[in-house]
């Protein structure tokens, strides 16, 4: 499969040699040719890399034995139809000059390049609005550069006015305020958030209003930025797992799985069958949890508080099962590189099945209230429509992308953990409006439950950990009583799991879309660099496109319908 992409690339660019790294094809491109190459990758029907998943940079300042320049920018692209994953790497000679922007090709590049600029100080020529995004506007320096001290925090003393930005957005939309003053009315500027119940977290939605209609919108994020990536560079691979809990905290265990899956794929570890099935069962269980939160909150925004009880009660009850299993309600930290932290406890099947039935009942009750309810239809059908082209351009994945009618799901298109042997549907929408986003999530709950039931039937007995003392802590018995066990234990705790030097990307279908991790390893037990590809970040980057021209109340329910989770958005 990937060979065809290599052939196609070779035919188009004879002097570029594609390499294969795990699932991805990697090419190195000189900065002068970057634009030509990127344009072809996007527009040639043969290549059709319509999804720009992520852009990040690497600072090689302290990388052992590194030759050549200090910075390199990495673009991660995907052709979703054929499951092609491509990484384009370009050296940056001078960060001040930087590289040309690709935001004209993909909408997703707008925020992605801002993040690279913010974290690494690499400029993008021609970018429409190159300013900080995760760190505040008064921040000095670039935290992910290797010479930035991890303990050097900086405080923001004044809010960002965002006036220039909203005026620019108005101008870009061709709205002239003078025509409004002719009829004795004027534009009103309104902040929704950052701290408002309707934003479900701290996000600032800044709008220019004509009456109740939103004429232009810019958004400010980063209120929950805590430097996940910088912290990760200072922790061993296993120590990062508890930090991933705090990305999308509505489905903490999915992040745990996504993260260890990415590390294991590079180490070439095949986890045990039981561990795989556990990950399928728990992953789908948490997908259900995530959707329950999203739908419950979304329907509250719409005024349907009763739905909240029917859906959220079951989420709350699920936490009892989760805490019995993992030892915590929210922060599960339940995977380890090479397997699972613990096996299921005795009698888990009955608890799980009881919980699934309760969820089905809650969801069905809620559906009886909303499915054929005209108020819901009138509010959601045809509002905040997102076209499939726009969704792809802004890097939407997961249920948000599928609601526009694009059937891209990594479980189907790039299956792992035996997903191809399960029987389930991928629900997709047809219009890409709020209604579709809600209904796709409702349907996915039932499909996930279907997968869980199949997996519970098929889960084999056996160990949940690989038997490999390079990655797995030895059983406690051996640590307490055997000198060899103790020695291995010692080594792993002090040095961490060592990964071979190199760079790779691996991703997982999380509840909100493609959750990816880009690693750079220098061969030690700590990642040299770790970048998250957060699905929420890209969903939020296209938010203004959905709400401009709609009413304030629609913007609120739209925010709920794309399910923005601050922990993952801001990292």
């Amino acid at each position: 499969m990937t060979d065809t992409v290599s052939e196609k690339l070779r035919a188009l660019f004879p002097d570029i040699e594609p390499q294969k790294v795990l699932d991805a094809t990697v090419i190195d491109v000189e900065p002068e040719r970057l634009m030509v190459v990127m344009e072809r990758l996007k527009t040639y029907p043969d290549l059709d890399f319509s999804l720009l998943l992520d852009i990040t940079a690497v600072d090689y300042l302290t990388y052992p034995g590194q030759q050549g320049g200090r910075f390199r920018v990495v673009y991660t692209l995907r052709n979703w139809k054929r499951n092609w994953l491509l990484q384009v790497r370009t050296p940056v000679a001078d960060p001040e000059l930087g590289l040309p922007t690709v935001s004209g090709l993909w909408g997703a590049a707008d925020w992605a390049e801002r993040e690279v600029y913010d974290q690494y100080g690499i400029r993008f020529q021609g970018h429409p609005d190159l300013r900080r995004i995760l760190n505040h506007w008064q921040f000095e320096g670039h935290p992910l550069r290797k010479d930035y001290d991890i303990y050097k925090g900086q405080v923001c003393y004044e809010p960002d006015r965002l006036e220039k930005e909203i005026r620019a957005r108005l101008a870009a939309k061709g709205i002239d305020q003078s025509t409004m003053s002719d009829i004795n009315t004027e534009m009103m500027f309104l902040n929704l958030g950052p701290s408002h119940p309707a934003t479900h977290g701290a996000i600032r939605i800044f709008t220019a209003l004509d009456g109740e209609t939103i004429m232009a919108n810019v958004n400010e994020i980063g209120y929950l930025h805590r430097g996940f990536e910088k912290t990760a560079e200072n922790r061993t691979y296993n120590q990062i797992i508890p930090l991933t809990d705090r990305l999308n905290y509505c489905s903490a265990l999915m992040n745990n799985i996504a993260y260890v899956k990415a590390v294991e794929s590079w180490l070439g570890i095949e986890i045990t069958d039981r561990a795989m099935f556990m990950r399928v069962i728990l992953g789908e269980f948490f997908r259900v949890q995530d959707h329950l939160v999203c739908l419950a909150a979304n329907l509250v925004d719409m005024g349907g508080l009763t739905n909240y009880w029917y859906l959220y009660n079951e989420k709350e009850a699920s936490y009892d099962f989760i805490s019995r299993l993992t030892g915590a309600r929210l922060t599960s930290s339940f995977t380890r590189i090479g397997g699972m932290y613990r096996d299921f406890y005795e009698g888990w099947e009955a608890d799980l099945e009881r919980q699934l039935q309760a969820i089905e009942k809650g969801v069905n009750d809620s559906l009886k209230l909303v499915l054929q309810n005209r108020i819901v239809h009138d509010r959601t059908q045809g509002t905040c429509v997102l076209s499939p082209e726009k969704a792809l351009s802004y890097g939407y994945t997961g249920p948000n992308l599928r609601s526009t009618g694009i059937a891209f799901d990594l479980r189907k298109d790039n299956p792992y953990y035996h997903y191809d042997s399960f029987d389930f549907d991928i629900p997709i929408g047809s219009r890409g409006d709020i209604y579709d986003r809600i209904m796709v999530r409702f349907e996915e709950i039932f499909e996930s439950i279907k997968i869980i039931r199949q997996a519970v039937k098929r889960i084999p007995a056996g160990p949940v950990f690989v038997d490999d003392h390079r990655v797995a802590l030895p059983p406690k018995e051996q640590v307490y009583h055997k000198i060899e066990g103790l020695a291995n234990h010692f080594k792993l705790i002090f040095e961490g799991v060592k990964t071979p030097a190199g760079e790779w990307y691996d991703s997982y279908e999380a509840a909100n879309g493609e959750l990816g991790f880009h690693f750079v390893s220098d061969g030690s037990g700590t990642p040299y660099k770790l970048k998250v590809r957060p699905p929420c970040f890209y969903a939020m980057s296209g938010f203004h496109e959905m709400i401009e021209g709609e009413m304030i109340a629609d913007a609120i329910i739209n925010l709920g319908s794309i399910n923005i989770i601050g922990g993952e958005l801001d990292r």
Partner: protein, 174 residues
């Protein structure tokens, strides 16, 4: 076994749905059903009368820490610093001193955990080669009026008893 793509149905076109009232009455029956069921039997309500009624805490629960002891009451910890090394939030601070009871060479003279920094991940328990630190106290609510009192030390850690029997604890996988 197969994965199929299915387009979700768009409701709202039929006359009955357009009429609005019929569906609202149907919805109302669901709500009233819940109402009467809860009225007649409120034992199944999802309300917990906390703090009178405590939530269920299982043996796997990662609660506040404690340091375990030998039968004679001496501390099991040998001040090997494994827990401190494995802690992702760097909130364990140990000082080692000499040990004279013949069990090992070292023991902690200071063992502080900053509970405000702790993320309750359980990595310290996982790292300990002596089964000397555990989070099985069942203490899930860590609150205080002052920051200082949340930096707990050796004495407090050794005083706290375990919340579960050894059998239950090990069944949980500890």
């Amino acid at each position: 076994m197969s994965i199929k793509v299915r387009v979700v149905e768009r409701k709202g076109r039929t006359f009955l749905e357009q009429l609005y009232l019929v569906e609202v009455v149907k919805g109302m029956t669901v709500t009233l059903g819940h109402f009467f069921r809860n009225l007649l039997d409120n034992s199944r309500l999802y309300v917990r009368h906390y703090p009178e009624v405590k939530p269920e805490i299982s043996p796997r629960w990662r609660g506040r820490h404690r340091l375990t002891r030998h039968e004679d009451g001496s501390v099991k910890c040998v001040a090997c610093f494994m827990c401190q090394t494995n802690c992702p939030s760097n909130c364990i601070m140990i000082e080692a001193g000499e040990r004279f009871d013949g069990r090992s060479e070292k023991m902690p003279v200071k063992f502080d955990i900053d509970l405000l920094e702790c993320i309750y991940c359980g990595y310290c328990v996982e790292a300990c080669p002596m089964d000397a630190i555990r989070m099985d106290t069942g203490i899930f609510s860590v609150t205080s009026n002052s920051r200082e009192s949340l930096l707990i030390g050796l004495e407090q850690l050794m005083e706290t008893p375990g919340g579960f029997s050894e059998v239950d604890y090990h069944k949980g996988g500890g």
